[in-house]
Symmetry: C2
Subunit: 428 residues, 2 copies
DNA sequence: CAGGCATGCCTG
DNA sequence: CAGGCATGCCTG
């Protein structure tokens, strides 16, 4: 079990009501459960009996108050809109079937939530406002790979960078992705692909095609049922979904087990906008989250892949790899650059919340930076900020101190498989 | 009277039925006349009694056969759609009034066309598939100018280059244009602004905003009646028109005579897309054609202005001026570059026509280039091609030979005011 | 298909 | 606000 990108997950440790690291964990838990309850009903046979037997008993979860605090768990209209695969209609209307309306109440009492096995906690991100993007092979050993390529030219249609674990691909090009499972997942398992903005400032925004490219007149949209979807999968069994709660787009195909003798199954994916599309991706990096889900919509494995859709995959890959190598000589941010980044990030992060926007920065010397925040949720933002600072190589977690009500918050440190994180209070 | 951009106009000379240079002249004539007959009815008082007394008698025009050959003169539905100025409605519906339906037959017999005074021949381009873009002061001495600017910075909102007679302007910026008339035009006169692609390959395409910027959600479209119009005029009396025949957009305001003591009247124009907008201008240069029109829709004066809508008007102006200066050392195209240009242009031009696409290029030496074409209409394309080659400084008219059915075609040469052009047959 | 321009936009 | 990068696309 690896760590999530934003906050670390615990495996056996009890939840700490006072700490904040369990916060995001709970969020996952509750939303996952809601997902399971509400389900997503697809018009083919892969999902059956979705709403059955959710046994209720919960001893671990004692922080049900977060649910209402979180405020996202009121029930919207639970119609799952599903776009059927194209049947070569020429009128291009967006066929949407409303195939299911939950009779479940809007808010599920927290103590009725099921005893869910750890694996199941790894949410199906389709109904999660902040989808999980951590890699997790799961019990079936889910992973992906790319075929080796002839030396990629500047304008090769796609190229995968091992060094960056990133796919560079032309808009509209069919890109073969190999999916591996070590053990056979149950029949009815599906593969889902969903795009998510990588930067924390944009993660909440739904990834769609730009207006120009989703227009009816676009050649690429002829006879396609989902012009607004960024990701396409070349399969007659592909279904284009719009999550009714979050509005997020995804494409789903039945997961076919590799043929005997083959270690993987190949799906062709197309990405239908440029990363630079104005009013669309708008130069904001994205990743594709591939999830293996069983017929109840539970996630069996997940693999997030950074992707850049561009005109010159070869060139851009080379550039990014060169940049990364240059950066490998570690390089510290200046006091000013860290301050600026923190201020910008905090403005972005706090902007759309009812939380206090107060953030102070100061530095004792050039090595340690201090932030002061209030409120429980802020811990989550601090983690995002910390990640961003680290990613930009401005500082490491060790260099960042955070205070809440005059008490220092300690960031949990990413650890290896099976580790626990810690988040408590200590005197300065 | 100056020459049109594509073919030269004759003033007193008789039309030659065998030649082709009179072709485009006739086109102007006939379309202008159609314009006058069908008219454009605006919902305010500027145009009245449009359809009255068109006396019919024509001796000069003896090539009526071109009319049907040209094929554009069938009558579509003659409803003029007019977008009223915004009245601050918040629902952003595109208010279109259908204010007039011609009872005129679809095709006007050529010999019924009026004896139109030369000035009136200068067509109101609003209903012309290929709008006139020649500058013509007319009897009221219509012209425009720009105020002097403080030294333009790189990102000044707008800047006018005398050297290039070109306006560089930020998208959405209010740009003050000064309009001059030496004599008072009659009451009811209006000013029209219409955008036209500059390159011959695109002149027939209607200039509109891109999908992204014309979207309802665009901030710039709030309470605006014409989100799809590229050109806006800051005036409560501005009307946004879509020509029913050509689909071309224009904005029209009552032409107010300069105040006493002032030599000009200022209108503020905004240009609502970038020249680079994908699916819109798409990096294709445009010009704005300003026309003064009387209350019958007849053109009283015209001024075409090249314009570049961009993020950095200052920078781009400097770059273009530098380039122009560098080019002033004349520079010839190679045989290959001319060939390539001719082939590309001919493909573009012939592509959407039923005409034979056959074009040969050959060069006797490095100075003379030969084209072979068939069909009457091809002469028009040859002229466009010749202009493009000249513009790119590849060659001059003198260097280009054209053959039609083994007979050499002679291009008419641009001459000064009052000159005649010649287009006949000569032996090689 | 690579070199390099064009052009919006980010950074200091 | 200028320098300069980012990134689609044109040219040879
Ligand atoms: Zn796009
Ligand atoms: Zn635009």
């Amino acid at each position: 079990m690896t760590a999530t990108r934003i906050c670390e997950m615990e495996e056996d440790k009890e939840y700490e009501p006072t700490g904040s690291s369990s916060y995001s964990n709970l969020e996952l838990t509750s939303e996952e459960t809601m997902k399971q309850i509400w389900g997503e009903i697809l018009p083919f046979g892969f999902f059956k009996e979705i709403m059955e037997e959710i046994s209720v008993s919960n001893s671990d979860l004692e922080n049900g108050d977060y649910i209402s605090q979180h405020g996202n768990l009121v029930s919207p209209s639970y119609e799952t809109s599903v776009v059927t695969p194209s049947t070569s209609t020429s009128d291009m209307t967006y066929t949407e079937y409303s195939v299911g309306q939950s009779e479940y109440p809007g808010v599920i009492p927290i103590n009725q939530l099921a005893a869910i096995k750890p694996d199941q906690l790894k949410l199906a991100q389709a109904t999660c406002a902040l989808p999980a993007t951590n890699n997790w092979q799961g019990q079936y050993g889910f992973s992906l790979s790319f075929g080796v390529q002839e030396k990629p030219t500047k304008t090769t249609a796609w190229t995968y960078s091992e060094m960056k674990d990133k796919l560079f691909v032309n808009m509209g090009a069919a890109c073969p992705v190999r999916f591996h499972t070590k053990h056979l997942p149950p029949p009815g398992t599906i593969l889902r692909a969903m795009a998510v903005f990588t930067k924390p400032e944009y993660v909440t925004e739904v990834v769609k095609r730009c207006l120009t490219h989703s227009s009816r007149n676009e050649a690429s949209n002829e006879n396609h049922p989902a012009p607004e979807h960024l990701i396409r999968c070349e399969s007659s069994q592909a279904y284009y979904l719009v999550d009714p709660t979050t509005g997020r787009h995804s494409v789903v195909v039945p997961y076919e087990n590799p043929q005997v003798g083959m270690s993987f199954i190949v799906y062709l994916f197309r990405f239908m906008c440029l990363g630079s599309c104005v009013g669309g991706l708008n130069r904001r990096p994205i990743q594709i989250v591939f999830t293996l889900e069983n017929d109840r919509g539970l996630c069996l494995g997940r693999r997030a892949l950074e992707i850049r859709i561009c005109a010159c995959p070869g060139r851009d890959r080379r550039n990014e790899e060169n940049l990364l190598e240059k950066q490998h000589e570690p390089q510290q941010g200046t006091v000013d650059s860290v301050k600026r980044t923190v201020v910008r990030l905090s403005q972005e992060l706090w902007n759309n919340t009812p939380l206090p926007k107060k953030v102070k920065t100061s530095s004792d010397d050039d090595k340690i930076f201090t932030l002061e925040v209030r409120g429980r949720k802020n811990y989550e933002y601090l983690c995002i900020m910390r990640d961003a600072l680290e990613k930009q190589r401005y500082l490491t977690s060790e260099q960042l101190r955070a205070y809440q009500h005059d008490k220092e918050l300690h960031f949990s440190k990413p650890k290896k498989k099976g580790n626990k994180n810690s988040s408590g209070e200590e005197s300065d």
